[in-house]
């Protein structure tokens, strides 16, 4: 079978994650990389053995004819590059957020539909091993009906030396609606949508707790009423202990995982028996899960596995769909729901 050809536009940290995964795929060749900085493009090509490098994505598209373009540039440039790529009749996999505003996404979507092309967003935590475990528990009925999902991020973006505070070279996330938190909103949005379904109502609180930083906000809370259940979202920008907690409360079971620390995953289920004894059994079970997850996480780091658990599966699914000419793994309608929810989260009650 013919090998698929991919190209990567934007040669920063996330591009290296894509290239490291692609290097392990037998069925994909990376045909070229591109960056506006020649040395960044050249060094990336040298490092990953990519035969060609460019500083203009238009020139790349005119000389290379890939099956898929990975867009890994800062978000402000996504829409313009994706428009050019789709216009050239090439499929797109774009880093999140795909566009800074919803209206740009609508335009890209229309172009993709018209040209019958794939327009994927890199929703990596959807493919995270722990997220997939929870989905299996939902699907099998073991978790029962989903009642609530809590998605809580703690990241010390206000710490001294934080890349987000460098006023000499402002981080790209600062220009997004919601600033640094805005960079996380797509993750919040698609994870919430997966568990609670179409969104009916959104309430938010935005706050800036640490003064004299360039951040527009460092604290965020949201309540979402979905068709199937409710979601609680939170971002703490000055918590020194970081974490990306996904908790799903079902009618029969409660599961909790730290998406930053796979495969850490704990389960508490309904048990029949003497309550005091069952509490002990639950506690021992959770302790076992925590130790197992912590050891597994350590071994995972030694093994050099990407900190972006989920990226490999997302890329594999995307290339498989291209190869088999199947629909894109994440339906465009769901990416649309994500983009709309992000817009609502930043627009509703955006008060400091």
């Amino acid at each position: 079978m013919k090998k698929q050809a991919g190209v990567v536009i934007g040669c920063g940290a996330i591009a290296r994650e894509h290239l490291a995964v692609l290097a392990e795929f037998d069925h994909v060749d990376v045909a070229a990389v591109c960056d506006i900085s020649p040395v960044r493009a050249e060094s990336t090509a040298e490092r990953y053995g990519v035969p060609r490098w460019y500083t203009s994505h238009r020139k790349l598209l005119s000389e290379v004819h890939p099956d898929l373009v990975h867009i890994t540039t800062p978000p402000a440039s996504h829409a313009a590059i994706a428009r050019d790529v789709l216009g050239e009749g090439v499929n797109v996999l774009c880093e999140k957020p795909m566009t800074v505003g919803y209206c740009d996404f609508v335009e890209l979507k229309q172009l993709a539909v018209k040209n019958k092309l794939m327009l994927m967003e890199d929703q990596i935590y959807r493919y995270h091993s722990s997220t997939r475990r929870i989905l299996e528990l939902v699907k099998s009925g073991a978790l029962g009906d989903v009642l609530e999902v809590q998605i809580c991020v703690s990241l010390n973006v206000s710490a001294d030396g934080s890349q987000y505070l460098d006023r000499n070279s402002p981080h790209f996330a600062l220009s997004l609606p919601g600033g640094v938190i805005g960079d996380f909103l797509p993750h919040f949005a698609y994870l919430a949508y997966m568990f609670v379904g179409p969104i009916l109502d959104v309430r938010t609180i935005w706050a800036k707790r640490v003064p004299e930083t360039p951040l527009v906000a460092d604290e965020f809370r949201a309540l979402i009423r979905g068709e199937r259940a409710s979601a609680y979202l939170s971002f703490n920008g000055s918590a020194e202990v970081d974490g990306f907690w996904l908790r799903v409360v079902g009618a029969r079971m409660r599961v909790e995982t730290d998406l930053f620390e796979p495969p850490r995953f704990t389960v508490r289920r309904l048990r029949r028996g003497e309550p005091a004894l069952m509490k002990l059994v639950d506690g021992l079970g959770e302790s076992r899960d925590v130790i197992k997850g912590s050891v597994g996480g350590f071994v995972r780091k030694l093994a050099g596995r990407s900190s972006y658990d989920g990226l490999e599966e997302l890329l594999r699914s995307t290339y498989r769909a291209l190869e088999l000419e199947e629909p894109q793994p994440i339906p465009l309608a769901e990416i649309d729901e994500t983009a709309r929810l992000v817009e609502r989260l930043t627009q509703s009650e955006f008060k400091l």
């Binding site: 920063g12 940290a13 490291a20 900085s37 020649p38 040395v39 960044r40 060094s43 490092r47 890349q163 006023r167 000499n168 070279s169 780091k301 030694l302 093994a303 050099g304 596995r305």
Partner: protein, 334 residues
């Protein structure tokens, strides 16, 4: 002479500017706009710019005779270091190519060498690291920086001197990689008798200004080491005594440390293949680049530039550990 100095607000940069002023030169110092630059007296013009962002650098070269390029990151993630050291250099060189300036002194590092292949003496003929992506972010960035400046100097016909200092130390920067690792009150060293490739910031600045003043045509490279023979044992003892951080030295023979790193690397390879990751101390090539017991030659610097080390190790120690702002903090004899 009027010199343009990038990275002037950094640790080495501020001493280089001071030395330039002492020698009667005028300076245009590039300092990040929102950073607080040192309060130099004398003929210093501040040019606020951050090489990482697309600022217009052309006016910085007006009326300049030569450039000292120091701007680089010495810590931070791979992206942070590459952006500061390499992409910043790319932007700077592009602006310099549009100017009439034809003389560049570039500050590199001995991190660019392939320490594993050096048998006894590191000199300017020693080979440069090949597979730089196995090394740390700093080595990667410094090698790419050298590649860029060499290409630009060759294609534009510039005269360029590359200076490769050893471990630069001085006030606030006396904990160096070669002394080992500190954990609480324990100092783990890897070869107490190993020579350290030291370059005190005063001596380093002196050699850089000398390189600027010495007319050399074409591209030349010099290692920058102090002449004193300082071993790990003495440096750690002085560090403990003068830094007010007493503790116990845990001497680990170099061969034992390297053997452990080799064993860890082999185990990682067997268990996880080439994607396996280890701390830098357990990666043999990185271990060697910090602790390998070899000699470090500054003979070319002394012979071709006539450099004489201005401050002895003892004087540098006194200067480094004096109270900030105190009388002893003035450069001895300077």
């Amino acid at each position: 002479m009027k010199a343009l100095v990038t990275g002037a607000g950094g640790f080495l940069g501020r001493f280089v500017v001071e030395k330039l002023l002492q020698r009667g030169h005028s300076v245009r110092a590039i300092v990040r706009p929102r950073s607080t630059g040192p309060a130099w007296g004398g003929d210093v013009e501040i040019f606020p710019a951050d090489l990482r962002v697309g600022a217009n650098l052309s006016p910085a070269f007006d009326g300049v005779d030569a450039v000292i390029h120091l701007a680089a990151a010495t810590s931070g993630s791979e992206d942070v270091q590459f952006a500061s050291s390499v992409v910043g250099t790319e932007r700077f060189l592009s602006a310099m190519a549009q100017s009439s300036v034809k003389r560049l002194v570039h500050i590199s590092s001995i991190a660019v060498y392939d320490w594993s292949s050096i048998r006894s003496v590191m000199d300017e003929m020693s080979p440069v690291a090949k597979n730089i992506y196995e090394m740390g972010a700093y080595t990667m960035a410094k090698v790419w920086q050298e590649r860029l400046v060499t290409r630009s100097a060759s294609s534009n016909g510039w005269d360029m001197t590359i200076m490769r200092p050893g471990f630069i130390w001085g006030p606030g920067h006396s904990q160096i990689a070669g002394m080992g690792r500190q954990s609480g009150r324990l100092y783990f060293t890897f070869g107490l008798g190993t020579r350290l490739p030291l370059s005190h910031v005063l001596n380093c600045a002196d050699s850089i200004v000398l390189a600027l003043e010495t007319p050399l045509h074409g591209i030349h490279t010099f290692n920058v080491f102090d002449t004193d023979d300082v071993r790990v044992r003495r440096y750690v003892a002085e560090y403990r005594r003068r830094s007010g951080k007493p503790g116990w030295i845990v001497p680990i023979p170099y061969r034992a440390g390297l053997g452990l790193a080799t064993l860890a690397a082999m185990t990682s390879r067997a268990a996880f293949g080439r994607r396996g990751k280890l701390p830098s101390l357990l990666m043999p090539k990185r271990f060697e680049s910090q602790f390998k017991p070899i000699r470090f030659s500054n003979e070319k610097l002394r012979r071709e530039l006539g450099w004489v080390q201005p401050y002895s190790f003892q004087q540098c120690l006194d200067f480094t550990n004096a109270e900030p702002g105190g009388k002893e903090n003035e450069a001895p004899g300077g």
